[in-house]
Symmetry: C2
């Protein structure tokens, strides 16, 4: 069933009001009618089954039928940081890690990034938010991942202070048959994880040193070389496999 994220102020008692893009989607894309049901998610992880009772000129009114009790979020909040890379790759990663349960996304300007941060930062964040919202709806999430924009490497190091566990994917750790990623996941008792994946060219030795000095752990993702857009999917799949299956 279709699912829409709304702001708290759109829900009043048992009534939900929808306008704007979601109005257009329900009316013109899905061609729903009065009596059709959808899921409504507020911003604080509640999910409701709601029925359309009126399709007006610029507003759709729904009535909440029941509250859905269904856990679709990982037990810990996982944010993925990706070395700044081409926009299409960023967006593909964002879309897929949202499906796989990530709770945050940012990019980091790194030594080996082949692109520079450019364009209107606010506009890029806005676009990423809309990608995350759409993917969260399709994959039946309760939460939309937070979008943090692009940080410099030093800003990123500071940013990492807010997380219980900080990791970076490091090819050399993978090749050495290091099992630390698994053992770290298995023993982790905290609430929030931040994982950095380098850009196409990888993480430079001096960046790796700074990360280790900051308290990050280097983890391997198996013996094969993964592209920077595949590694985040491996990481998110591993969290789900370990915690949810």
């Amino acid at each position: 069933m279709q699912r829409y994220f709304v702001k708290s102020e759109q829900i009043k008692g048992n009534t939900v009001s929808i306008h704007g893009q979601d109005y257009h989607h329900i009316k013109n894309v899905m061609r729903m009618k009065t009596g059709d049901n959808v899921y409504i998610c507020d911003q604080v992880e509640n999910v409701y089954l709601a029925s359309i009772i009126e399709i007006a000129a610029e507003e759709i009114i729904l009535k909440i039928i029941e509250t859905i009790v269904y856990q679709s979020e990982l037990k810990c909040s996982v944010a993925i940081a990706l070395g700044l890379t081409r926009r299409e790759k960023q967006e593909e990663v964002l879309r897929r890690i949202t499906e796989l349960g990530a709770d945050g996304f940012l990019t980091v300007s790194m030594e080996r990034s082949i692109v520079k941060a450019k364009g209107n930062a606010e506009k890029i964040i806005e676009r990423q938010r809309s990608i995350a919202k759409e993917a969260a709806e399709q994959s039946q999430r309760r939460r939309i991942p937070r979008i943090y924009g692009n940080l410099s490497f030093d800003e990123f190091l500071k940013f990492s202070d807010d997380f219980d566990l900080t990791l970076f994917a490091y090819e050399e750790a993978g090749k050495s048959g290091d099992a630390s990623f698994k053992s770290i996941i298995k023993s982790f008792q905290g609430k929030s994880v931040l994982v950095l994946v380098g850009p196409e060219g990888g993480i430079s030795p001096s960046e790796a040193e700074k990360l280790l000095a900051k308290g990050f752990s280097a983890v391997g993702l198996g013996p094969r070389i993964l592209r920077c857009e595949t590694a985040p999917l491996y990481i998110m799949s591993a969290f789900s496999y370990e915690w949810e299956l």
Copy 2:
């Protein structure tokens, strides 16, 4: 370091001869010179470090320096079958599951496939082989996944006879919090696995019945709804996480 798959007949004693596309890649794309080193993989999982000793008009001659002992393959052979879907999606899945260690790929015409099998089957297989070869080289594999083409659903059921373990990803199994995928992987002692992921519209109830009757197990991939192009990556990541980390 760059890696090239060659046929056995291209290796004679300690000498390797390269022509055609790989010749072009080494000479014009990578702009390598005499004395540069590459990895050479034969079709039987040997990997050699080799040095370029001559770049002739249509042939590059290399000398094998040493044999590389490095395990980059999963301990079991995993083939992914994808419900027939648009070509770009097929190719993206093939590329990524190759990075993640898959050993075989095929598509299956299913009830809810929104596209039909069309075009020159041999040509499509040829194109998929070249995608698999390139992805295997980039991810430092020893093997190139086998490409089986597109099968009808009945052909696919017969095809599955060759595998020790046969699974299909089923949304309802995931939502019910079923842990069978993990317990199946953990207890599996065989050598070959086949996993079917449905097309966009999913696997129909009647197809699911036939799969179960044939001995397939329905497995869930967590509580979120994954797209058909994301589920195969989750599956391959889970095998790697369980077996390799």
